[in-house]
Amino acid sequence: MTRGACPGRPHGPGLWGFVLVWRDCGFGVPREPAGGRDPVGSSLVNTRAAQGFRHGGDVVCAVRGLTKTYPAVRGRRGSPATPEVRATDDVELDIRRGEIFGLLGPNGAGKSTLVRQLTGLMRPDRGSVGILGHDIVRHPERAARILAYLGQESSALDELTVSLAAETTGRLRGLDARRARAERDDVLDELGLAPIAGRPLKKLSGGQRRLACFAAALVGERPLLVLDEPTTGMDPVARRAVWSAVDRRRAERGTTVLLVTHNVIEAETVLDRVAVLDRGRVIACDSPAGLKERVAGEVRVDLVWREAAPLHVPEVAALRDRTVESGRRWTLRLAPEEARTVVATVTGGAAFAALDDFTLTTPSLEDVYLALGGAVRQGLVKA
């Protein structure tokens, strides 16, 4: 194992060596990176490291062979015909107790459809969903008694005040009035919503509204939380409150969380395991680190030119057809050896005068998604 001398390493001391370790050792190497923690995620809350919490190992939610097809719509005047869409294609998942399980994928991958089938809102064409021993396909009303769902819409709670929204949801979960009020007060204090408890949701900002809906999802405890993009529009303080609340419940009661997201950075820090969805099919299911190992052979190189790329330099011109250009930024995905050559060329030769900045990064979940054959090359959000 060699550590190459790399001029001008911009990010993290062990990064280059880290890449070489991966390349030299091949796949199947244990999960801990040799070079230390991922520099990108270090400033965010890492819920996995927090407590010495082990997965119980028993399965909370088992999905087998789930399939749902939306029928073709005939074209009419004013709206074109849409073909038949396989929204969920033979999906198989196991969610274990106490873990935060993610569904990651671009828009239209079928994440929300899958979640609707898991919560009993939609009936699948084929397959089975078992949550804690209950068959949800046959008894969809039982899903309401065993999980708490936070949807993307908040229209049912919109004109209620924050405290009334939380209290009503608690009462509708079967709590009596006194307990509902007590739990509401606890949850609102936990999330820091007490100052705005008397304001209607409509008058709050997007992130505060989402936090209020999350509070309503927490009142009345449930062993499984299904959260559909819970932190959309939230500032970092609110996000931290959300994940702390989730962690507390995981540690105290072994609450399991199913999270739908297309926010890659949050996915990398928060999730224990993630299932990557593309066009209704699960193309990979593993921990984020495990998934990244599958594309360990590739490194991303970002080059930012000062004005224009120096195409008179032959090495740079040769790279042109392999890059994704956006303005002054060139993005290349290369094997580590090649990346080393490119960086040496760009920083040592004539091209260096035209270079503004360059970055070397290990694969993110977005790279995993694209490498695994993500058909739609629109990528994911790095919010």
Binding site: M1, D24, C25, G26, G28, V29, P30, G57, D58, R116, T119, G120, L121, M122, R123, L132, G133, H134, P140, E141, R142, A143, A144, R145, I146, L147, A148, Y149, G151, Q152, E153, S155, A156, L157, E159, L160, T161, L164, A165, E167, T168, T169, R171, L172, R173, G174, L175, D176, A177, P200, K202, G220, R222, P223
Partner: protein, 287 residues
């Protein structure tokens, strides 16, 4: 295997991906039998959850709907002033006042409720209730009850104003205590059903407005001069019985048995219309 050394190619062949302790015969594999289903959380019971929904909807009305109550009241008051020039007294005046008062209920309980459910359904708000263990009837009845309750001040103001305007006795206005809930139930059930069954929210709004216009024309205009077909439509409208019961009480010696009979029919129609609304909700919420 020591995780510290980089494994060589040769060693990799012998590694099994299955950990030793779940191989058949191992300790963990003994739990292969299906685990018992976990205890379910409590189901929300009808009356407590109805009360919770009722309170929430009433608070919504306080936040956002008070201007609309003023609009409803002004509409009815304006109609009565308009009709004052046309109608002199007697049975026709009674019909106008009774119809205008119930029109306030129709505006809020039929029109606004149809719009609310249409918009809620279109924006996916029904999913929120579908993932809570609340009986569907509680959601519909709670919302219907809240909207009907919300009409009380406007209806009372309209009735009093109408009595003063047309010179009718105020003595029997206590009948509103029965008329408002019964007519409110009937109209709210119809409004909820329209809102939940309409395929698009714009259609729900349209049907709500049509329903209110029907309540206006068929309720306020005296029935004596209507053609037979229109009179049939008037009999089918749920609020008609409440209007007639109310109108009868303005007489010098009201025919109480007939008033009670009309209220009873109104109540039955109200019950049917709320049942239809609950059925429509179940159809809309579950796919």
């Amino acid at each position: 295997m020591d995780p510290g050394d980089p494994p060589s190619e040769g060693k990799q062949h012998d590694v099994s991906v299955v950990p030793a302790d779940v191989v058949p015969g191992g300790v963990l594999a003994a739990d292969e039998a299906a685990p018992e289903p976990a205890a379910l959380g409590p189901r929300a019971r009808l009356w407590p959850s109805l009360g919770a929904v009722y309170r929430a909807q009433l608070s919504r009305a306080r936040v956002a709907r008070i201007p609309l109550l003023f609009v409803a009241t002004f509409q009815s008051v304006g109609i009565m002033i308009l009709m004052r020039g046309v109608v002199d007294g007697g049975g026709e005046a009674q019909a106008v006042v009774a119809g205008s008062a119930v029109l306030v209920v129709a505006f809020v309980a039929l029109n606004l409720l149809a719009q609310y459910f249409g918009q809620l359904r279109a924006s996916g708000g029904l999913d929120h209730y579908a993932t809570l263990p609340v009986p569907p009837a509680a959601v519909v009845l709670g919302a219907a009850g809240a909207y009907a309750s919300f009409t009380v001040p406007g209806t009372v103001v309209t009735a009093v104003f109408g009595c003063v305007l047309f010179g009718l006795p105020l003595a029997n206005l206590w009948i509103l205590v029965a008329v408002i809930p019964l007519a409110g139930a009937a109209l709210a059930g119809l409004g909820a059903a329209l809102g939940l069954l309409a395929p698009r929210p714009e259609l729900a709004t349209l049907l709500g407005q049509l329903g209110m216009s029907a309540a206006l024309l068929l309720g306020v205009l005296p029935p004596e001069r209507m053609p037979e077909a229109v009179r049939l439509a008037r009999d089918l409208l749920p609020s008609t019985y409440g209007v007639e019961a109310f109108a009868r009480t303005f007489g010098a010696h009201p025919d109480w048995p007939r008033v009670l009979a009309d209220l009873a029919v109104c109540g039955v129609v109200g019950g049917i219309s709320l049942a239809v609304a609950a059925w429509a909700y179940r159809r809309a919420a579950v796919r």
